[in-house]
Amino acid sequence: MAAYLSMGEAHRRIGDYLSRVVDAISSSDGAALASLIAVSSAPGSTSLSDALATFPDFPRLAGDRIPHLADLLVPLLRAIHSHSLQRFADAYSSFEKAASAFLQEFRSWETPWAMEAMHTVAFEIRLLAEKADRELATTGKNPDKLQAAGSFLMKVFGALAVKGPKRIGALYVTCQLFKIYFRLGTVNLCRSVIRSIETARNFDFEDFPVKDKVTYMYYTGRLEVFNENFLVADQKLTYALMHCNPQSESNLRRILKFLIPVKLSIGVLPKRTLLETYNLLEFDKHVCVVLSGAIVTHLGRYTMLLIEICARGNMTFQYADVVTSLKRGDLRLLRQALDRHEDQFLKSGVYLVLEKLELQVYQRLVKKIHIIQRQKEPAKAHQIKLDVVVKALKWLEIDMDLDEVECIMACLIYKNLIKGYFAHKSKVLVLSKQDPFPKLNGKPV
């Protein structure tokens, strides 16, 4: 759609761009430099791209005009040009060269004035690598650019994670690395950067910018979920939830997606009021509108926001049944909920966490049987016949024989979800008279 561009005009535009970069560097204007090197979103990049298309000899122009920055500017212009032609693999290769030259300059600058530009490079290289890999994959070539971007960002991390004023920018790069490693499925590579961030004696974690701390806690919290360290996962994800921008609904939703299963696994449920409200939201939006006015006075603004987010992200759908199954002791409902959302739960890596809730649901069911018996026949309430459990399970459409149920009861006793012993001959579970169903109280099973 570009209008006809004369050679002279193209020459002028390229020259203008080059002098703006040089000016930004000589006046230490980090924000201006950042916007000039943002290949995928640079303001006015269309008019620059048109000029580059019209004037193919632009590398020589840049090299002649500004020889001391040629290593940076020549590949940068090539990257902008290839990107505008949607040749992303080429754009990536050029941008990586420009990024290396920029990193070299950045190392030589004593103050962190160019941090914003360094971060833009880190962000852009990841985005470009993703586009390049998609292009390579569709043309049957090896998509290895994102991995290469990861190696480059490790060098950037090395330049920042040092003593001194540049360190404050290290957490942003760490978060870009996390995004790459999670995307590539190489999350074990996160370990060395985490160690470097968390063992630093001369830099307090709290001094990093809040947006980077929140992102960092989200990803390290997810890693702890994978490693089944639910207590640490709870701390990290709760930190992310507490400090996240309340306007950023999609990110709050992502945090809750992992925090809710973690909380469930340590025996903590989202509040009843919260849950009831999501159900209403699910059933009838009008009821919700009427109710929200009334509820907001009790729950406060933040709670309402969380309710809205959960409802919009279909979290209700995903987790409400799981929560109900825990409260009821309803194994059938738990299994149905897991089956229904299996693909999504597996993809996010929370399936195993949720599957382990089964033991808590068994505990709840046995407790209910115990309470019902106690109301009818208090003297015998602490003896639970196994065939009663078999019947309850059959009612829930779960076919198990006595041996299988015995095995599960043994497991509940072993995991300290039930206190008591098992009379094997008479097939009776004998409950302790004191606290037969210990609560988890925030500890994992």
Binding site: Q86, C175, L274, I372, K391
Partner: protein, 74 residues
């Protein structure tokens, strides 16, 4: 030069398809917020004392009925 507009659209669509929904969205570089005020409430959204002895909900009533009907058959 009208051509390039088209591939751009398909490229965007493809990117959406491959979007990793669990990837944390970037905060704007200059985005700031007061994380001291709002965050406190996030701690109050949970209960660890939900495991009560109430057996009057529908599920428990049905369970009771089931257990009693079976008991009478024995």
């Amino acid at each position: 030069m009208a051509e390039p507009a088209k591939p751009e659209v398909t490229e965007e669509a493809k990117m959406d398809l491959l979007e990793d929904d669990d990837e944390f969205e970037e905060f704007e570089i200059d985005q700031e917020w007061d994380d001291k005020e709002e965050g406190k409430e996030a701690l109050q959204q949970w209960e660890d004392d939900w495991d009560d002895d109430d057996v009057n909900d529908d599920f428990s009533l049905q369970l009771r009925e089931e257990l009693e009907s079976n008991a009478s058959k024995n």
